[in-house]
């Protein structure tokens, strides 16, 4: 739902930009016609213009794909569970997670198990993966 809306927005932006560029193309076109420039120069201008547009679109497309922030609550994750998840992603063992949160090992395990079922995964490495993909935790250092 929300994702679709976002995507649609992106499409609108791209569409608008494309439309503007079409107008620009026409302007350049008629300008060159009037001044009777060589067709090769015209082609070069068009080429350069669209090349830069393509690069811009390409980079932005790639950026879009890799990000996108999510709401932990949407997955039913509690505050505490997000905390645990962050510690998991930092490579801590169950015992270490328990120590850092000042709870027992059993409690930590319970949280972790709940996280797994809510994220629909089976291993901690997968949980970290998923959390990263959903940007529930910081994507990387620095």
């Amino acid at each position: 739902m929300r994702k679709l809306q976002k995507l649609n927005k992106i499409y609108w932006i791209y569409g608008g930009v494309m439309g503007l560029l079409m107008v620009l193309l026409e302007v350049v076109h008629y300008r060159t016609m009037i001044r009777d420039l060589d067709i090769e120069i015209y082609g070069a201008i068009i080429g350069l213009l669209f090349l830069s547009i393509g690069i811009w679109v390409g980079t932005n497309l790639y950026k879009r794909k890799t990000k996108d922030v999510f709401d932990p609550a949407q997955l039913g994750l509690s505050k505490r569970e997000v905390e645990v998840l962050e510690l998991l992603a930092e490579g801590f063992s169950n015992q270490e997670v328990a120590d850092k949160l000042f709870v027992s090992l059993n409690t930590a395990k319970t949280h972790i198990s709940n996280i797994y079922s809510k994220l629909n995964v089976k291993r901690r490495t997968q949980a970290i993966q998923k959390a990263r993909d959903l940007a529930l935790i910081y994507p990387s250092k620095e």
Copy 2:
């Protein structure tokens, strides 16, 4: 040293591709001249061509930036170990890694243990962390 060589290779590839595209451009150009097509069609072809080229270059440029910073050999990691490391980062279990590489579980475990000692870590989550930080593996999916 090796990194520079790699980059140079990339530049050569880009250069070569660009050269080829110039030739292609000329071919399209003369073809349209001969057949006396409208200048607008010519422009559209050039535009589309360079747009797609731009998108391709753009995405690849972005990928380059985020990848390939470190030399695995510098840490003493063998080719096979890097392979295993990538599978670890994708959240696979020891058994799954073994299956994907068509080796026994014991072999996979040996590789993994060696990776740990070479990366100076104790758990697989830490290995993934470190590999990510050192950009030994791709930062994110796809």
